[in-house]
């Protein structure tokens, strides 16, 4: 667990408070997304966790211990760190880059090597092909994968990620996000994830901390609650006018109660159970229908699990049902 306790930051030589009295807790195994407009202090807040920046006031506890109870370098070796520009070492191979922290921790060579291969596999880069390349020989998306792999290398319980999927096109970003969520299901790290993109925050976060100008915590809650009950006008406008649609994108078709299929449904659109309700809504309306046939993941014909109606989607969007069962 990570606890921010009345944390404030004013940079030396300036009298502007960029993080103001931040207090909140991040439970173990959760992704906590710090989101807010540019300059609101997200990066500053994140970097105070591993003491790349020292707070002016307040303290940060990790598992009940002050993060000042050990040296900064020792602390940082226990916390994964991934940033938007990746910061991969251009003069070291991909395998060596991934092996950085294990090397600092004194692992032996074979163990580092097999760990690097394991992580390359995990992030979808065949080790045989990639381990001996230099970072400049990879695409931007591949570099960001390696950046994440490197942060995971020593299996730290905590990860700090500053716009880790920021520098790639939307399609690649979407894929990287999905892959990371899949990985997180297994590894269950406690993650501080910084982004300025509310959609990414809603998608990635178990908890979202919305910061506003001056580093003030505007709301800290689950994505659902922030979408249903924005705490202020600021949150409401930051979240955007399509709150209802965003909420639908939190729920997968497979997670809602379906109606039994009646008839062949031959003319109805096919809805993959892995899709979000938002995708389903778009597909059904696009097909000019009022319902769709839900099919099992990976199959487009047959395997029908039932039908989903516009009516049921509307109900969920009004919060009549609690999805995510």
């Amino acid at each position: 667990m990570i606890e921010f306790k009345n944390v404030s930051k004013t940079y030396a030589g300036s009298n502007v408070t960029v993080v103001n009295d931040l207090t909140f807790e991040i439970p173990d195994g959760d992704i906590c997304v710090l989101v807010g407009p540019s300059g609101c202090g997200k990066t500053t807040s994140m970097r105070m966790v591993n003491r790349l920046i020292e707070p002016t006031k307040g303290e940060i506890l990790i598992d009940g211990q002050k993060n000042t109870s050990m040296s900064g370098t020792q602390l940082r070796r226990k916390i994964g760190y991934a940033i938007q520009q990746t910061g991969l070492f251009p003069h070291r191979t991909i395998a060596d880059n991934i092996g950085t922290v294990p090397g600092l921790l004194g692992w032996d060579k074979d163990r580092i090597k097999s760990r690097a291969d394991e992580l390359l596999d995990l992030v979808g880069l065949p080790p045989n092909q990639y381990r001996d390349r230099y970072p400049a020989e990879l695409s931007g998306g591949q570099q960001q994968r390696v950046g994440v792999a490197r942060a995971l290398a020593a299996d730290p319980p905590i990860m700090l990620m500053d716009e880790p999927f920021g520098a790639v096109d939307p399609i690649t970003r979407d894929r990287l996000q999905n892959e990371f969520l899949r990985i997180q299901e297994d590894i269950k790290k406690t993650i501080v994830f910084v982004t300025h993109d509310i959609d990414e925050a809603i998608k990635m976060g178990d908890k979202i901390a919305i910061l506003k100008e001056g580093g003030i915590l505007a709301q800290y809650d689950t994505p659902e609650n922030i979408l249903v009950n924005p705490a202020s006008d600021f949150v409401q406008s930051f979240v955007g006018g399509d709150r209802v649609l965003k909420r639908l994108s939190l729920t997968r078709v497979g997670d809602v109660d379906l109606e039994p299929a009646n008839g062949s449904g031959e003319n109805l659109p096919r809805i993959n159970e892995g899709w979000t309700l938002r995708d389903a809504l778009s597909e059904i309306i696009g097909a000019g229908a009022d319902r769709g046939v839900v099919v099992t993941d990976g199959e487009s014909n047959g395997g029908s699990r039932g039908t989903i109606t516009l009516d049921s989607i509307r109900k969920i969007s009004h919060g009549a049902e609690t999805p995510r069962g």
Partner: protein
Amino acid sequence: MDSAAGNADDPPAAVLAFLQDFGLQEDKGLIDWEWLGDNFTEDVVPALLQHIFLCAIALAIALVIAVPVGILCARYRWLYGPTTAITGFLYTIPSFAMFTFLLALGFSVGVMPAIIALILYSLLILIRNVVTGLDSVPAETIDAARGMGLTDRQILLGVELPLALPVIVAGMRIAVVTVIGVAVIGAYIGGGGLGELVFDGIDRDFPTLYITGAVLATLLAIAADLLFVRTERLLSPWSRRVRRAG
């Protein structure tokens, strides 16, 4: 066609005649090959080796000074201005004047003032390239290194210097060529080396000697330059592969 062919034969003979006149060596030509053959191992080779030694020592010492000074200048930016001013001033002093000043400062004639002069000439280029090299390291690379728990020392030795190395070696390339040239003049104050052949040859009005000295100094400079180009590539396999890929 005929006349063109005839002309083609002419110039070498004319040049030879001119060179003979110029060299005032009535029957032996500009270069006395016989003398060169007899004295090569005794006079020429030692002069060449001493020249290499002189330049290598000077460059090594200059590097030992320039790397820490460059690192300090990169860290504490205010040092860079004064450092550049001082080393830049040293660099502009004409070589003869430099040697004379050193003698005036009380150095006795010999290898010592020659090496010191060569060091002083190298400093500007070397320090500037150390700073440029360190500056060229991407800020996010250093941030990531710090964020993963590398100490300042590990960042400097394991990240910043290796990444700056190609630029530093590029500086050495320029410095070595400068130093090889200036070292020729160093013989004037007893520095020895190829310059000794040059000055001796001029004194004795013996072109074989000064031409040998000059040609060898030139070849040495070219060889050193090539060597450092090679080294530069060898030290940055990552950028070489990228160039090939792109």
